[in-house]
Structures are given as structure tokens and as C-alpha cells.
């Protein structure tokens, strides 16, 4: 394929085109630019063109009418409710942890007495009950359990009587609250995404499809804190997009990020993994190229621009530290136990050497593979107090620093567990609905199907995340779109969450603990669609408006809230 002089147009040759063609036809026919291809596009290409025209992002402009956002929010909330309540309610059975959190509302679960009985189905009803002492709180110690999920539980308690579900709190009402919040977040997502309305709605629909899978959605009707983690994560993503878009008040945008970040971190202790990601995200601040673009930013101005993000990071860090400080001591004791006896020793090729490294008696080897409640538990060992004195999170961290090869096995086991997100040991349906005990809800198993398929090649999951990360960087730097930054944040936050769970909580309940990492991994699908669409779209035609003099906020060099500008242009 050679572009010859014959192919040049009239404007280039200075001759009429017809004349040129006639004169040179006898030597060789004009060669089309795309030689060897049918000038008529095929059906696939036409379909791709149609899809790109209808669902492509088009120009990466921001803003747009409120109608698409409202419609998307209402539709996603309705879809989630239908998915959870039709033909009958589905949820996540309680394996015993739910009480510690929900009892703070002064309620007690109406369920069978025996563990083997109440895990078979969901029992969403909680009736008023006054607990005394250690009966309310973390199982085994009664220490207070805190979570931002209490917000949804409290709202659910408010509306429970409206539906005739009694005077306490019904998890179905909490599920309705979660669906409404999800609808609100979807509307906000559509509002802050760049591109055409159809593109934004498509991405919101894909996020809804991820959330609607039973492995995530069923948590909405459960006493667990996971809904706050899921919805908090989405809120953080929306807030970060808004922050990076650079529209409106910068202060307000940062307050939204901090608020969403605090809510997310407060969902459960493992969510503190968001802290470094949020810090980096806040420092990766939106920047508008000024008239002096190209020049080096003065040192003092660099700091001045980052004072507010630094302050926000300090607030988040202080909250995270305070939140970790009030976590039940019992939880950290169990985590250390599980990290040693359920994870480290049973998977070690030299468990005796590991015990020696940890400074423990070889007799503890008999407790390898146990939980603290097992009959062979190390807790019944007379030297258990030695274990409590010798081993803590710092020592475990030291162990993995000096034995980094062990992390490979930990990672492999974690990925396998993450690709098994369905909790088969607890039921999804209410008793008397015609379902067998422990039956699982598979009304919309898109993520479950994807993860099950990936189990054949677990490395494909990591590959998918890496692809999302690389495309995210490409979109962030080449297309200057905040969606790229979002992809980077989702992948990195998912990885951090994964390792915090794997090294902090150990094997028991690993499937439930890794469900949030799985949520991050599943979000790679809508993100990949968005990233590929943006990269495949026409070159960026941003509607940049220079900041008008005199309307800048104090302490910033950014334009006022009313201006529409480049999303997340990076230096």
C-alpha cells in the first residue's frame, strides 16, 4: 500500500481530478488508501460503527441534562428491588456474625436456636430485645462492633413498620434502603461520567449488572456490614470522579471524597486498605493547564495547591486510626490465631521451623489447621498464653518479610477463594418458600459465571486487572479522562483489600472476606468497556474554557464552578 502521487487530490496537484485520472489510467489504476479491502464495510464493522455511534463516549465532555441521571438512578434501584424481591425475597443467611452489629439497635433475631438450623435459610426478622452486658457485641467478648452499615440498619428500622414487618428491624427493609442508595449512586455516577448520555447509561447499566449478581446483591438483605462496603466503594468512586472532573467547588469535591471515604473505611476494619489509595487519589489532583502551561510549577504553588488534599488525607488517616483503635480486641486475637493456625502452619512445608521462628513451643503443631473453637484448638494448650504474648500482627508481618516466598502460596489460595464467591454454607431463601436448605440464589449469575469460568485459568483474573490498570493509565494520560484514573484506583484498591484480608484475617471465612476484592475485580468489566470505548473513540475534543479572571477561588488557580473544563488533565 503506497500512497502515490496519483492519489493526490486536486488541491494538492493543482489540476482537475478528472483530468489527472484520465491521463494516468493507462499506466495503473488509482490505489485506494485501504487496498485489498472492500470499500463497503461488512456487517460486523457496521454493527461496531452503530454501537460506537449509539453507545460510544463521543466527545469526552462533562455535564449534560439531569434526566439521564435520574432515569438511570430510578431504573437501577427498581432493577435491584425486582431482583431481590421477585418472586420472593432473597438474601444472605447469617452464620452468627450478624448479631454483633445489629443488636446495637436493641433487637434480637427471630431464628432457630441451633447453628445448623439457622444457617440453612435467611431469617430477616429482628424483634425488640434489651441485651445486658456481653450478650450484645462481638461474639465471645461482647465488645462493641462499629460499622457505617448501622446507618442503613437504622434507616431500615425506621421503615420496617411501614411494610408491616413488626416493631423491630427487618432486613428486607434494610435491603430496600440499600437499593434506594444504590439508585442514588447510579444517578450520581451517570452525572459525573464523561461522554454521551447513552455511554454513561451503558456504564451505569454494567455496574448495576455487577451489583445485581447474587454474590453481592444478596448482602443487601443480611445483617452483615458488606452493603456499606459495596455502596461506600461506589460512593468513593463517584466522589473521586467528581473531584477529578474539576467541576464545581474544589472544597466541596474534597469534602465529598472525605465523607465517602470515611463511610467506606467505617464499613469494616479491612476497608482501611482504602486509605493509601484515597491518599494517592487526592494528591493526583485535577490540574488545568494555565496560560503558562509548559512552565515548571513553582515549588510554593505546588504545596499551596495540595494543602487541602493533604488536610483531607490527615482527616481520613485520623479517622482510620481511631476506627481501628475501637475494633474489638477479640477480632484481632482471632485474626492472629487464624493467621498462624489456619493459614501459616497448615500451608507450610516446614511448620516446625515456622513455630521456632515465631518462638513457640513445638507442641502447638497439633493445633495446625484449627480455628480457636476447634476441639484441637491451641486455646486448650496450657501454653496458649505464650502464644498470646509472643505473636502479634507485627511479628506476622516480620515473618512474611523474611519469608516472601510464602506470599505466592497465600496469593494463589486467595485468588482461588476470590473466584469462589458463592457462600455455600449459608442459605439465600426464607424458610417455607419451597426451597431446600442452603439453596443459593442464582437469579442473575453474571459475575458468578465469569468467576467460575476464570477458575479454570485463575491467572486470567490477574491479567484482566492488569489490563484494566494499563488501559486506565493510557486513558488517564493519553485521553486525559478521569475514567482512567478511576480504573487505576479500583484495581489498586482491590489488590490492597485482597492482601489485607489474606494477611490479616486468615483462612476461616475467607470467601466472605474476599467478596469485596471480588467486587473490585468484577468492576473491571464495566471499566474495561468504558476504557476501550474511550480509547477507540475519536481523538479528544474537549470543550476547554479558560478560567475567567476574577472568579477564581481563594487559594486556587482554578476556574469557578460555573465553567466546564478538562476532566482530570494531568501534569
Amino acid at each position: 500500500m503506497v500512497e502515490t502521487k496519483q492519489g493526490k487530490t486536486e488541491s494538492e496537484t493543482g489540476k482537475p481530478e478528472a483530468e489527472t485520472t484520465k491521463h494516468e489510467a493507462g499506466e495503473f489504476a488509482p490505489v485506494p488508501v485501504r487496498s485489498g479491502k472492500n470499500p463497503q464495510p461488512g456487517p460486523l464493522r457496521r454493527l461496531a460503527t452503530f454501537l460506537a455511534r449509539v453507545f460510544g463516549p463521543g466527545e469526552l465532555t462533562l455535564g449534560g441534562g439531569r434526566t439521564p441521571a435520574i432515569l438511570a438512578g430510578v431504573a437501577s434501584a427498581a432493577a435491584m428491588m425486582v431482583r431481590l424481591f421477585v418472586p420472593g425475597p432473597v438474601g444472605m443467611g447469617d452464620q452468627g456474625d450478624g448479631h454483633g452489629l445489629v443488636c446495637a439497635l436493641g433487637v434480637s433475631n427471630v431464628r432457630p436456636w441451633d447453628y445448623a438450623e439457622f444457617t440453612r435459610f435467611i431469617y430477616p426478622g429482628w424483634t425488640p430485645h434489651q441485651f445486658a452486658g456481653e450478650a450484645c457485641g462481638a461474639v465471645g467478648s461482647g465488645e462493641a462492633v462499629y460499622s457505617s452499615q448501622l446507618a442503613f440498619l437504622w434507616l431500615g428500622k425506621l421503615i420496617t413498620p411501614v411494610f408491616g414487618w413488626g416493631p423491630g428491624v427487618d432486613m428486607r427493609a434494610v435491603g430496600i434502603v440499600c437499593c434506594l442508595v444504590f439508585g442514588l449512586l447510579t444517578a450520581a455516577l451517570v452525572a459525573v461520567l464523561p461522554g454521551r448520555a447513552s455511554f454513561r447509561i451503558l456504564i451505569a447499566a454494567l455496574v448495576t449488572a455487577v451489583m445485581a449478581d447474587g454474590v453481592f446483591a444478596d448482602f443487601f438483605i443480611s445483617p452483615y456490614p458488606e452493603p456499606a462496603a459495596f455502596l461506600g466503594t461506589l460512593a468513593v468512586l463517584v466522589a473521586l470522579l467528581h473531584y477529578w472532573n474539576g467541576r464545581g467547588s474544589r472544597w466541596l469535591a474534597i469534602v465529598w471524597v472525605v465523607g465517602a471515604g470515611i463511610f467506606t473505611i467505617a464499613a469494616k476494619a479491612e476497608m482501611v486498605s482504602w486509605l493509601p489509595v484515597l491518599a494517592l487519589a487526592l494528591l493526583w489532583r485535577p490540574h488545568v493547564p494555565s496560560r503558562r502551561s509548559g512552565r515548571r510549577v513553582p515549588e510554593t504553588r505546588w504545596w499551596r495547591q495540595r494543602i487541602v488534599p493533604f488536610a483531607a488525607i490527615m482527616v481520613l488517616a485520623a479517622f482510620a486510626v481511631a476506627f481501628l483503635a475501637v475494633q474489638p480486641k477479640r477480632t484481632s486475637e482471632l485474626n492472629v490465631y487464624n493467621a498462624v493456625f489456619a493459614e501459616l502452619l497448615p500451608n507450610s512445608p516446614v511448620p516446625e521451623d515456622d513455630l521456632k521462628w515465631l518462638g513457640l513451643d513445638p507442641g502447638f503443631l497439633s493445633a495446625s489447621g484449627t480455628t480457636v473453637a476447634s476441639p484441637r484448638s491451641a486455646a486448650v494448650n496450657p501454653k496458649f498464653s505464650e502464644f498470646q504474648e509472643q505473636v502479634g500482627p507485627a511479628k506476622l508481618a516480620g515473618f512474611y518479610v523474611t519469608h516472601p516466598e510464602r506470599l505466592i502460596g497465600v496469593g494463589e489460595r486467595g485468588i482461588t477463594a476470590m473466584l469462589t464467591p458463592e457462600l455455600g454454607y449459608i442459605g439465600s431463601f426464607m424458610e417455607g418458600q419451597g426451597h431446600d436448605p442452603f439453596d443459593k440464589d442464582r437469579r442473575f449469575p453474571v459475575v458468578l459465571g465469569l468467576f467460575t469460568a476464570l477458575k479454570a485459568v485463575p491467572v486470567a483474573l490477574v491479567a484482566m486487572q492488569l489490563l484494566t490498570l494499563l488501559l486506565g493509565f493510557a486513558v488517564a494520560f493519553r485521553k486525559k479522562s478521569a475514567v482512567g484514573r478511576l480504573a487505576v484506583v479500583v484495581v489498586v484498591a482491590g489488590w490492597l483489600q485482597f492482601w489485607v484480608v489474606m494477611l490479616g484475617s486468615g483462612q476461616p471465612e475467607i470467601y466472605r472476606q474476599l467478596v469485596i476484592s471480588g467486587f473490585h475485580a468484577a468492576l473491571c468489566v464495566p471499566l474495561l468497556v468504558a476504557l476501550i470505548s474511550i480509547l477507540a473513540s475519536e481523538p479528544r475534543k474537549l470543550m476547554l474554557q479558560q478560567p475567567e479572571p476574577g472568579v477564581q477561588e481563594p487559594g486556587t488557580s482554578e476556574p469557578s464552578a460555573a465553567t466546564l473544563r478538562d476532566p482530570a488533565v494531568s501534569v
Binding site: F131, G133, V139, S141, A144, L150, V258
Partner: protein, 294 residues
């Protein structure tokens, strides 16, 4: 105006998030251990009753619910008060929940409960559960090592049953049938099955247990051999020297994990076996002549 409102909403959301995460007062929940409240070191005493109705209250390491009158509705009654032994007692921090649970089996033995119920070695109970309550973490730090051993009446589903009865000396009382172990055997063509299901004697049953069992070997295949082996225990149960005319020795077989055991039992002599209710155990200071009561 709009700008002000937009600024206020995130602030409210932030405050709400912090409050709901437990960083502000007003959230219902258990008071933190460090709260400025007096540590109650009220010494629990035997014969106190409590109302414990949920699995979480039942399974907790400590119980701080107020005592109630045993003549009123209650679910738990304290049958023994003891102390945590060394070396656990020497720990500055309270041992783990699982360590305490393991300790309960030793500190609150069934033999002590039998004494409290005024039972003999031949009295077996059913539908009862034992649990131990320890000092709270704060009480432990303040030096308390007291252990409260409580007995519950339990439903077949293991949930505590509410009662107004005083369980002290209950096995010697007239209402002992509701806590005595009996067996319900199947009756087919007028013949009793060898095995039987556990029930309380206040429910229809076919045999009453006399708290004696032995492994079934080749010498104990026939019913007559089993009856002969069980006879001394039945006599001891009835507090008689000779088996009354209206009573028969009626052992059952219990197969557990492949192991076969003969459990000694007693029943009124019947022309054809039929379910009956009540107990043949004699009231305190008496001997039973063969009539069921309770």
C-alpha cells in the same frame, strides 16, 4: 443559597457517617468497657434465677442480667458458684471465650447438678442444659474470678424453656417427671422396638431410664440377660430390695457410631406395651410400689 446548601449536605453526611461509625453519642449499643461506670462485683449466689432467652445471652462469657425471683418466670437457675482455678486465674486479662467454655465442663459438672436437684446415682435427667458465666473483662481486671453455673430447662430445639418452678431438689419432688429421662420406643404388632428416642417422662414414653448402661457383648444379646444385668440398678432406682409385682425391667439398646450399648430402664408391667406418662421414681423418703406419678 444553592451553594450553601451543597456545602451543608456533605458536612451532615460526614457527621452522620462518623456518628454511625460509633464516633458520636446517640447510637444504641453496648457501653464500651472503658466507660465511666462502676464495676459491679456483686457475688452471684446459688439459687438465684435469671431470664435468658437468646442464644447470644446463653453463649456469652458473662451475664449481667439482674436476678429475678425463682417463683416468677425464669429460664436459668444458679446451682453452683465456684472460682476459676490456676493457672488461668493468674492471667491479668480474661482468657479467651473458648478457654472459658472448655473450663465450664470441669467447673460445672453434671454430678454437682444432680446433687442440687437432690438426685441419686440412678436419676438421669433430660431436657436440661448447663452453662457457666464468668466475670466480665472489667470485673476480671478488678480481681473477680467467680464462676456462676446455671441450669436451664431446654426444649427439643435446645432453646431455654420458661418456667416458674424452683429446680432445687426437683428430682425428689412430685414434678420430677418433666426433667427425668425416658425413652419412647416404637410399638409394632404389640412388640416394642429395641431402640428408643430420648424424651422427658412427662411426655408419653415406654421406658424410664435408671442411669446405668453397659456395652452389649455376646452375653447380652437376649432380653432376659439384659434384664438380669439391669435388675440391681432398677432396684436401687426404686429403692426396694425386691422388684414390685407391677414393675418390669425394660432395657433399651442405643447404637451410637456403630457401638451398641444397653441402657437399663424400668416400666410398669403391661399386658401389651403401651405408652405411659410420669415416673416410677419414688418421692423423697419413700419407695415405689409400681405406680407412676408426675
Amino acid at each position: 443559597m444553592r451553594r450553601n446548601r451543597l456545602t451543608v449536605f456533605p458536612a451532615i453526611a460526614l457527621a452522620a457517617a462518623m456518628a454511625l461509625a460509633g464516633c458520636a453519642p446517640g447510637v444504641a449499643g453496648p457501653a464500651p468497657e472503658g466507660a465511666a461506670k462502676a464495676v459491679s462485683l456483686d457475688h452471684p449466689t446459688v439459687d438465684q434465677c435469671h431470664v435468658i432467652t437468646t442464644p447470644e445471652e446463653y453463649g456469652a462469657s458473662s451475664d449481667s442480667s439482674p436476678a429475678v425471683a425463682c417463683s416468677g418466670p425464669h429460664t436459668a437457675q444458679t446451682f453452683l458458684v465456684t472460682s476459676v482455678p490456676e493457672p488461668l486465674a493468674g492471667q491479668s486479662e480474661r482468657p479467651l471465650h473458648e478457654q472459658l467454655q472448655n473450663l465450664t465442663t470441669r467447673l460445672c459438672p453434671a454430678a454437682e447438678l444432680r446433687k442440687y436437684l437432690a438426685g441419686t446415682d440412678r436419676d438421669a435427667t433430660a431436657g436440661m442444659a448447663i452453662t457457666g458465666y464468668y466475670p466480665s473483662r472489667l470485673e476480671w481486671a478488678a480481681g473477680s474470678r467467680t464462676v456462676r453455673c446455671d441450669v436451664f430447662l431446654a426444649s427439643p430445639g435446645r432453646a431455654p424453656l420458661e418456667t416458674t418452678s424452683d429446680l432445687k431438689g426437683a428430682l425428689a419432688g412430685p414434678d420430677s417427671a418433666q426433667i427425668r429421662l425416658c425413652y419412647a420406643q416404637e410399638i409394632k404388632d404389640g412388640v416394642l422396638s429395641a431402640e428408643g428416642k430420648d424424651t422427658t417422662c412427662s411426655e408419653p414414653h415406654t421406658t424410664e431410664d435408671v442411669s446405668a448402661w453397659f456395652g452389649q457383648d455376646a452375653s447380652l444379646v437376649s432380653l432376659a440377660a439384659q434384664q438380669e444385668r439391669c435388675l440391681p440398678f432398677v432396684l436401687e432406682f426404686l429403692k426396694v430390695d425386691v422388684l414390685p409385682a407391677g414393675v418390669e425391667v425394660r432395657p433399651i439398646v442405643r447404637i451410637d457410631g456403630g457401638a451398641r450399648a444397653v441402657r437399663c430402664g424400668v416400666a410398669p408391667l403391661q399386658a401389651s406395651p403401651e405408652p405411659w406418662t410420669g415416673t416410677l421414681a419414688p418421692l423423697a423418703g419413700t419407695a415405689n410400689g409400681g405406680a407412676a406419678h408426675g
